[in-house]
Each structure stands twice: as C-alpha cells, then as structure tokens.
Symmetry: C2
Subunit: 191 residues, 2 copies
DNA sequence: GTCTATACAGTGATAGAC
DNA sequence: GTCTATCACTGTATAGAC
C-alpha cells in the first residue's frame, strides 16, 4: 500500500509548510517529513527544486485570488464583491491563524527571487479593489488610496495577530476595515 | 592594522543583516562576510551563537523603542508625543526602506523562539499609544482599538512598501494613519 | 579580541533500482 | 511515481594559536 499524489495536491501540502517556516526554513528534509514524500518524488514534481516549488505555490495562490477575489471585484456588483472579498479573506487566512505567504516572502531577500509574482499579487488586488470602489461611485484617486489602505491593513493584521498569537486582532481589524470602506464618502476615507 | 569592536557596535551591524535576510537566512558565513569579523569574534561576543545574537538584537530594538517611543508616549504631552512617534517611526524604518525585524520574526516559526520579546514589543507599543490617546481625552476602549490599528497599519505599510518596492506606499500610509489618529472624535476612529 | 583550522550535522540536488 | 544511496557543499559550533 502506498499513496500516489497529483502535483496539485503536493503544491497544497508544501504551501502550508512554506507558510509556516518561510522560504529558508522550509528545508527538503522537513518537507519530506511532513508530506511523506521522498526527495525523488519531490524532484519528480519539481525538477527545479525549492525555487520551482515556491514558484508553483505562488502561482497557485495567484490563481486562487484571481478566481475568488480579483475577478469578482472587477466585474460583479461592487458592494456584493467587496463583501464577498472580506469573507474570502477571513476564510483564506483562517481568521488570522494563517499568514500570507506572499507578504512573508516580501520581507526578506526572498522577495528578490520572486519579485514579479509578489508585486503582481498586490498590484492586482489593489487595482481590482479600486475598480470595484470606482464602480460604486468613488472618486478614482481616492479609491486607489482606499484600496491600498485596505490591502495593507490586512497584511498588518496578519502580522500583529501572529505576533500576539491572538486571532481576535485579525477579526477586529477586518471588521473595522470593512466598515470603514463601506461607509466612506465618495471622496474616500482618507480623512 | 585591525579593527576592534564593542559588542554594541556588533549588535547594530548584525541587526541590519538579520533584518535583510531573516533569522534563517542570516548565516554565520554571511555575517562574517559583511561584518569582517571571524567566527571566533562572533562567538566571543555571543557564546550562545545565532540565538543569542537575535536575542541581543531584539533587546537593543526594545531599548530603542522604549527610549524614543514608549516612554514619551506614556509621560510627555500626548499630542507632542504622538507627533514625535510618527517622526521616529519614519526615521527608524528609513521611510519604508527598512522593514521591522520583530514583525518579520513573527511571521514564521522564529516567533516561537522569541515569543515573549515579540509579544512585548507590540503590547508595549500599543499600550503606550493607548495611554497617550486616553490622556488626550479619548475613551479608553476606543483608544485601545485605535492604538492597535495604528501599530498594525505601520506593519502593513512596511510589508506592502517592500513588496511593491515603493517607499511612497509607506509615506502615504503614515500620513493617513497620523491624520486619522489626530482628528478622531473622543469615541475614536473606529467608525 | 581576533584569527585559522576543524568537526560534523544538515543542506539542496542527482542517480539509479524498483 | 516512489524510494534509497550518495554527492558536494554549507550550516552552526568548537578549540586553540596569536
């Protein structure tokens, strides 16, 4: 009896390991240990080694956000799409228990290795949210700033929730960000 | 001709290396390379190795914030202390070029190694800022939430600024956070 | 206090049997 | 597709000369 995986399954498993340990901390031995897959299997799926693993994870994260966050924000009813975004974000980050892999990669020199994937994760998010805000009648420049602030607030909430080991920090922050974004004037919440 | 350092100097040098590379990424060889100090010197200053280096850095960070941020917030004129905080933060993080070591440590399993130092960095900051807000006439519960939001916003701004490689994200965020904190009603900026 | 030499476990990666 | 064996290299850490 032995288990045989699809590449997509492996990507999901190793994503969680990279999230918890970071790029440098996620060593092959810990990956084999937690996935049950030998190095042979790992290199079968990812001939490029760790770098290809991380690229695959980033691509899968990008695909998830594209489907469940960016795309609705760009085309669906703006109020509904924004409300759905807060729900998706809360689910995705397990109400503050999970951190953002892309944000974590951005902080050390891992950023330089995956610069374009990291940049596009955030720019796409901000731009999609800005579009939704503009469709809801918000001034374009203010919408951009408010979108930036919302995305940045999520990242900060993840950092602080994990630092204090207190999920409630994340929930509170999400509630405030959502409320403020929904109740801003056409000129934004900037002041 | 040879250079002889004080431990405090070494702490400052390696702090920058840990900030840029993270705990796992900051290998002894890169530390020797960038400080010019051999492993012998390093272990002379830090017999406990990497873990003691990181502890010393965290202690030095804590001391800096205690002197230049927390202490003024607790006892000085609240408006002045808060204004000074934004200036200190902007200087300390080099207007978004530098990241927060404590926030970075919080994201991966490095957090578990330095849990109490990481927690106290953030709780002290939030509590000191809350005290200043209370002294300026703010309701206590709202002051706590607003302080939490400000600190979290700084962390998020650092993440996003580095992810986009754009310092202006940090400056903009700091301006908005400062403005909103200063112009909130006694019941806070929560809504 | 600094250096060099060294130990040895752990790293990412490859080859080849099954 | 999975495993084991093995590679060269880098990791942290120690000992001892100067």
């Amino acid at each position: 009896m032995r288990t045989v995986y699809e590449r997509a399954d492996v990507v999901q498993m190793i994503a969680e390991i990279f999230r918890e340990l970071g790029y440098e901390g996620a060593s092959l031995s810990r990956i084999t240990e937690r996935t049950g897959l030998g190095k042979g299997s790992l290199y079968h799926f990812f001939p490029g080694g760790k770098e290809e693993m991380a690229s695959a994870i980033l691509a899968s994260v990008a695909a998830w956000f594209e489907n469940f966050v960016y795309e609705p924000l760009r085309h669906d009813d703006s109020e509904q799409a924004i409300a759905a975004m807060w729900k998706s974000v809360d689910d995705y980050f397990c109400s503050g228990k999970r951190i953002c892999l892309v944000g974590a990669f951005a902080l050390d020199d891992t950023r330089d290795r995956f610069a374009s994937a990291i940049r596009s994760y955030f720019t796409q998010w901000i731009d999609a949210l800005r579009d939704a805000l503009v469709r809801s009648g918000r001034d374009r420049d203010c919408a951009m700033l408010d979108a930036e602030e919302a995305v940045l607030g999520i990242q900060g909430a993840l950092v602080l929730a994990r630092a204090l080991n207190d999920k409630s920090v994340f929930s509170r922050a999400l509630d405030r960000l959502a409320y403020r974004l929904a109740n801003a004037t056409p000129n934004g919440l900037t002041r």
